[in-house]
């Protein structure tokens, strides 16, 4: 409990700066706002940490600049350390780089977007909050029966696997943005594949929903569903704690800041391509 309290305080400091910030608290959907007063924040944070599989995420910048902010969210903050994306809170450490930690789900080559999110669910509109959640619950439901372990349990909305490991040409097929969105909404932080189809990769970066990381070797053949893994983004490294092996990943490069910013719009606002909103 003590550790938990320390963590909450650390997070609260960061939250307190951002009022009206859109948060993705188990989801990535942007328009869920959370309470602004300190005591409400405490209560809210308690609820947050009480939930299993909670992933803390660095709050995304406000979409509506109607309220003032104490500080430009993009300037480096000397006070608080940069928060970690935590999955299972097994090792609730905060580091200075972005790391993902959790159990992985392994798939094969050529996982096309129909398997990631079958066409019958495309009537759900990703920019609609309730439908965004529903999309997440159908992530990878199109995988054939040869995949004995389900990605999401029948009555669940989220997955327990925060990392997907794939082979070649992950995300091939349709251009449906519902594919990376469904994965992100389900709770996936990153996909590590040997290679990607271009539209899927592009959509992942544009939405900022998941990190599409590339491995140097066929990790999908050396990892099993349920293995505990850690991805260290800054070091471009994946560690499989279950097998004890480490793998080098290709650096995410310039796509990293875009995904971290929350997608191309947030990133484009930074460079002044889009005027900041006034509403």
């Amino acid at each position: 409990m003590k550790t938990l309290v320390c963590l909450i305080n650390c997070r609260l400091e960061i939250f307190a700066v951002h009022f009206d910030v859109d948060v993705a608290f188990c989801t990535r959907y942007r328009t869920v706002t959370f309470p602004t007063s300190r005591c409400c924040l405490d209560a809210w944070a308690m609820k947050l940490w009480a939930k299993p599989n909670v992933r803390f995420e660095y709050p995304k910048p406000p979409l509506h600049s109607s309220t003032t902010h104490h500080q430009n969210p993009w300037l480096p903050r000397a006070a608080a350390p940069r928060p970690t994306r935590l999955r299972h809170s097994l090792t609730a450490e905060s580091t200075n780089a972005t790391t993902f930690h959790g159990i992985c789900y392994v798939v094969g080559d050529n996982i096309d977007t129909d398997q990631i999110i079958p066409a019958e669910y495309l009537t759900l509109v990703p920019s609609n909050p309730a439908e965004y959640e529903k999309l997440g619950s159908y992530a990878l439901i199109g995988l054939p029966a040869s995949y004995e372990t389900r990605f999401i349990e029948p009555n669940e909305m989220k997955t327990k696997y925060s990392i997907v490991i794939g082979g070649d040409n992950f995300g091939c097929g349709s251009s449906r943005e519902h594919a990376p969105v469904a994965l992100g909404a389900a709770g996936v932080a990153a996909v590590v594949a040997e290679s990607y189809a271009r539209i899927f990769f592009r959509n992942s970066v544009a939405t900022g929903e998941i990190y599409p990381l590339e491995s140097e070797v066929r990790i999908c053949e050396e990892c099993k569903t349920g293995d505990v893994v850690t991805i260290e983004l800054a070091e471009s490294r994946l560690i499989n704690h279950t097998t004890g092996k480490e793998y080098k990943l290709k650096p995410i490069g310039d796509a990293g800041p875009v995904i971290e910013a929350g997608g191309i719009f947030a990133y484009a606002r930074k460079t002044g391509m889009i005027p900041s909103q006034s509403c």
Binding site: D112, V125, P126, S175, S195, G253
Partner: protein
């Protein structure tokens, strides 16, 4: 304007420069199957990114795709690997991705924002139309509300779902509608929220698929950041045998280079065979470029293109062509006379096999439709086979014309050699299902009540574009992709059949 520094940099995406880091400079990264190239490419030397203007260098020859993107980004010169902001000439969206793109547009630009150009956006409901699914119907309403609010010039609306003919604006499948309504023009940049947007490359333009977020961005700004792809050249010479169609050509190519063989690359189709193809056949060729992972496909514009466009558009256009000395990543040559009718077996478009070698595969149904195989020429081809046979089909045969125009052609155009019969008459005599409402139909499954959707595991020969598990509805469904000739021949025997049995 952002500089041309790497935006979405992905090591694999570096195209040319990434190649030098693999063992063989002539291999295409990640392509596992052996490539039977007769002519090996000229590969551009690895260069660091530098603006040509700054070097004062000699003008470098460019490929068609590079030229189109150079003009669209207002740059004199471009090389593969450069990231450039491109001015978009036309943006297309439909009922599946439109609402999401609109949602993002409003969220990011504001509820009262206006689109960048009300005349450059084409909104085409086509995917889930003839269904009782409430959300699907609501999505068309969302499109309508947006078009009214923004005064969008081109919205091919449908209100009365019980009878498509009473909807004068409704067209059908977006990629065919774009062509038929004159929105595809040589030299332009067309983006669409659908992977098969690459179909429009048949008109000698840069056309590719994008997601909702990118589309939302284009709606507001009229621009998008794109990376210039290197080009793979496919040279097809020789007279097209009368048992082959463009579908066989593209299945041959995809089988050759695999489903990731053209990832992040442009595919250029040239040669006397390509020149002999009509526009709809060229569209079939470019349609499945995405199935090889391709970014876009192009066919140089020629008299066939200009003739097709004559009565469809009065907007001036300027075609571009690859320079003599342009550098291609690889060049493939095919001797068309040696090719035979093909199928793509389950469950991948690159699982190529000769149709005649699958003659023992019993099938349960045949589906003729979609942007790939549901155009007027495709139905004419199927009718030709039924006519030649004179017999009835042995399995349920579903016909889904892509657009209203195609539907009308099926009911009015005489089939050569039939003594004046129309396709519809021939289909009826052969025992096919009545041609259905024009839309994407069951190509991608769709809501459960979609016509011809595969709701139980069965074997289907289809003129569509993908056969991954679950594509047409049921995960255990087996889909054999084929040309309209092969599909019709298969319907007549109840087994996968080479059309030469009848032609």
């Amino acid at each position: 304007m952002a500089s041309s520094s790497s935006f979405i940099a992905n090591k694999k995406d570096l195209g040319l420069s990434a190649l030098s880091s693999t063992s063989s400079p002539f291999s295409i990264p990640k392509c596992r199957k052996s490539i039977s190239k007769k002519i090996v490419s000229v590969m551009a030397p690895q260069q660091s990114e530098r603006k040509p203007a700054t070097t004062g260098s000699v003008k470098i020859a460019m490929t068609m795709t590079e030229k189109i993107l150079a003009r669209a980004s207002e740059k004199p010169q471009l090389s593969p690997g450069e990231n450039v902001w491109v001015n978009v000439d036309t943006l297309m969206t439909h009922d599946v991705c439109g609402p999401g793109s609109i949602g993002i547009f409003k969220r990011e630009f504001g509820d009262n924002a206006k689109v960048w150009d009300r005349e450059k956006i084409v909104i085409i409901p086509d995917h889930y139309i003839f269904t009782t699914d409430e959300r699907a119907n609501r999505n068309v309403d969302i499109l309508r509300d947006f078009c009214l609010e923004q005064n969008i010039k081109y919205f091919y609306d449908i209100k009365d779902l019980s009878n498509f003919k009473v909807n004068p604006d409704y067209k059908g499948v977006c990629h065919i509608a774009l062509a038929q309504e004159g929105h595809c023009r040589p030299g332009e940049v067309l983006l669409g929220t659908d992977s098969h947007t690459c179909t429009a490359g048949a008109f000698g333009q840069f056309a590719t698929g994008i997601g909702n977020t990118d589309a939302g961005f284009v709606l507001g700004t009229g621009k998008l950041l794109l990376k210039v792809p290197p080009t793979l050249r496919f040279v097809m010479d020789g007279e097209m045998p009368d048992y082959l169609l463009a579908k066989d050509l593209i299945l041959q190519i995809i089988g050759e280079i695999s489903v990731s063989g053209a990832t992040y690359k442009s595919m250029e189709f040239v040669g006397t065979t390509v020149e002999s193809l009509n526009m709809e056949e060229r569209m079939t060729l470019c349609n499945m470029v995405v199935e090889a992972g391709g970014k876009n496909g192009v066919v140089p514009a020629d008299s066939t293109t200009f003739k097709y466009l004559e009565d469809k558009t009065s907007v001036p256009y300027e075609p571009v062509y690859s320079d003599e000395q342009a550098r291609f990543l690889s060049e493939y040559r095919f001797d068309i006379s040696k090719l035979e009718p093909l199928v793509a077996k389950p469950h991948s478009p690159d699982n190529r096999a000769l149709a005649r070698e699958c003659k023992d595969v019993k099938i349960d149904r045949v589906y003729i439709g979609s942007c790939t195989g549901g155009k007027t020429e495709d139905f004419m081809a199927a009718a030709k086979v039924f006519l030649a046979s004179g017999k009835k089909v042995k399995v349920p045969t579903f016909l889904v014309p892509a657009t209203q125009k195609v539907w009308m052609d099926v009911y009015s155009l005489p089939v050569p050699g039939s003594g004046g019969k129309t396709c519809s008459q021939i289909f009826e005599e052969a025992g096919c299902d009545t041609p259905a409402n024009p839309s994407c139909g069951a190509c991608l499954g769709g809501p459960k009540d979609t016509y011809a959707r595969m709701n139980e595991p069965m074997v289907c020969v289809s003129t569509t574009n993908r056969n991954f598990p679950g594509r047409m509805g049921h995960k255990e469904g087996q889909i054999y992709l084929a040309s309209p000739y092969t599909a019709a021949a298969s319907a007549l025997t109840g087994y996968v059949t080479d059309p030469r049995e009848f032609l």
